[in-house]
Symmetry: C2
Subunit: 383 residues, 2 copies
Amino acid sequence: MHNFIFRNPVELIFGKGQISKLSEKIAPGTKVMMTFGGGSIFKNGIYDQVKAALKGVEVIEFGGIEANPDYSTLMKAVEICKKEKVDMLLAVGGGSIIDGTKFIAAGTKYEGDPWEFMLDSSITSEAIPFGTVLTLPATASEMNCGAVISRRETNEKFAFHNPNCFPQFSILDPTAIYSLPKRQISNGIVDTYAHTLEQYLTTDIDTKVMDRFAEGLLRTLVEIAPDLLKDERSYDVCANFMITATMGLNGFIAMGVDEDWATHMIGHELTALHGLDHGVTLAIVHPGVMRVMKEEKRAKLLKYAERVWDIKEGTEDERIEAAVVKTEEFYRSVGMKIKLSEHNIGEETINTIVKRFRDRKWNVGEHGIVTPEKTEMILRSVL
Amino acid sequence: MHNFIFRNPVELIFGKGQISKLSEKIAPGTKVMMTFGGGSIFKNGIYDQVKAALKGVEVIEFGGIEANPDYSTLMKAVEICKKEKVDMLLAVGGGSIIDGTKFIAAGTKYEGDPWEFMLDSSITSEAIPFGTVLTLPATASEMNCGAVISRRETNEKFAFHNPNCFPQFSILDPTAIYSLPKRQISNGIVDTYAHTLEQYLTTDIDTKVMDRFAEGLLRTLVEIAPDLLKDERSYDVCANFMITATMGLNGFIAMGVDEDWATHMIGHELTALHGLDHGVTLAIVHPGVMRVMKEEKRAKLLKYAERVWDIKEGTEDERIEAAVVKTEEFYRSVGMKIKLSEHNIGEETINTIVKRFRDRKWNVGEHGIVTPEKTEMILRSVL
């Protein structure tokens, strides 16, 4: 087990009716920028609930933050926050809104161009405080200090982490996802599954508790996915999904383990180049990573096969292959197309991505084992 | 799943050599009271490591805090803290030292007699900040805001929780437990196992993730116990034990679940009346709770049998009984005597405890299902 430092100060306020607790969290007289997306919160009643709880609070609304939030959109919010001397932000939405809000929170306090901290992970900035009301479980941004920001003008997509960018509180009301379209549920399931794998399917360095926690999240997702994709979702299945997504990337399963993230790094390029949903890219890339990096991940792949999929028969290689096939079947079962060609993506994109990784000298994955050559093999294996 | 609020701001600093990080956490010039127990830290080198890291810090040493820390001892520390205007506390020890330090931290800021907040859980007090260096994994006090304090003059032992009593940081160096006596390791294993059961073996209200996390902790304990009780312990087994003990009672597995705690409430009386180690009392009481409360806990007992002990054959009642027997065998395997009579405790003590519970009108366990009558049945079943 590696040495580690864990700290996650986010207050999680979970359950039916909890949006009303906003009135306890944001004092009247506070100047708040409320950030949101394309307007689904107007249809599902969340907007009304939030506004009702914010009586007496001065609210500046900043809507229109897109999926894969864009630098240029967010910079408009940064300007407003600086000009209006906003005290606090309140993100109402999913991972894109919350990620964007972290960028706004830090960007407002940063003296230079905030894109600088996207390019240099050693730069952390002060940030104005913010809370969240989660409407789409997937990224766990509601309980971590990371964010992924896109810049469409340059076809780029990068992540940053800043210990000052933990939400002060996050409100998770499972009823908020009753009306979520299936596509977003599917993306959330795959995103959470992939997050968990990125922290689990690496080197086996005897991290027993974290392994069990990760396996618990994976099994839960497999168990609840069919009910989540029904036309009507029960409260409990929504609640279990929300908590699973949050636990998938809030640091709980990362203590002392090796982490991978090659699938995300490669997937981000597919989103940047073709606009694919984030979850979709992960469903494509992950099986490729499992097969191509089989030797390096052998011990954990065997554990994964046995403990998540109950695969106990056959040679080691057979058990590993069976587990990869189970993973592919699972992704397909939630509605994903898992080959590049199914998305009309071919050789040209592979070459572009591999060239980018070579130019950036990106060896990704745990201990940098995914070289640009391996990245090429991974992408070709999922063509 | 129940609504819940989760917040745990403790910074966990985990791994070999991390005690030296104290120098980053406590600035020179700070006036610190260092609290510890009977002096084992002088023999295992922890004292020297702590003092080396605290160069330039004004340290008042307060040793001699006993197992099951006593009100009268702790009040002496409270007086010193008030008189000397101590800025911060540093607990170096196990659960008793850390619990005692929480009492001192809150007691110093409390205007009345601190025993008042032991008797009335609605009273919370400000507290002076404190950190911990853990030397004995068991109670998870290093990552929660609760404490259990004894008052020997009245044979009482009570718990309090205070959101201002989270440690600011806790340093967990697994090498600190290389030299720990087997009796303390045994107590720690049972304590952690029992904490987890108290939050798991209740009502099945579809808390899938928390169930999996709890089962992961239980399985890990069963897996590592034999290696922990060998004459020489490896780094990894110590590391896995430390993290398991911390996760057992830091709120992570309590989100949205029903909690029991009847075993602890009954066990505290056995400690108060006979001075039994806390872990010993839990090993006695828990199997009794499982058998007597079988109907109320049926669904979870069946899950426990299958997922922790791989018991899949037989009728429901047979599977439950087999799981209780496995639990008893596990407690015996780590060196516990699990019957009252093996500790020369008999009818008289049962009558005393039941009378106390009746007098206090204590219906304990989830939803108060463990009435004084059930408490009597539980104690008689483990005679």
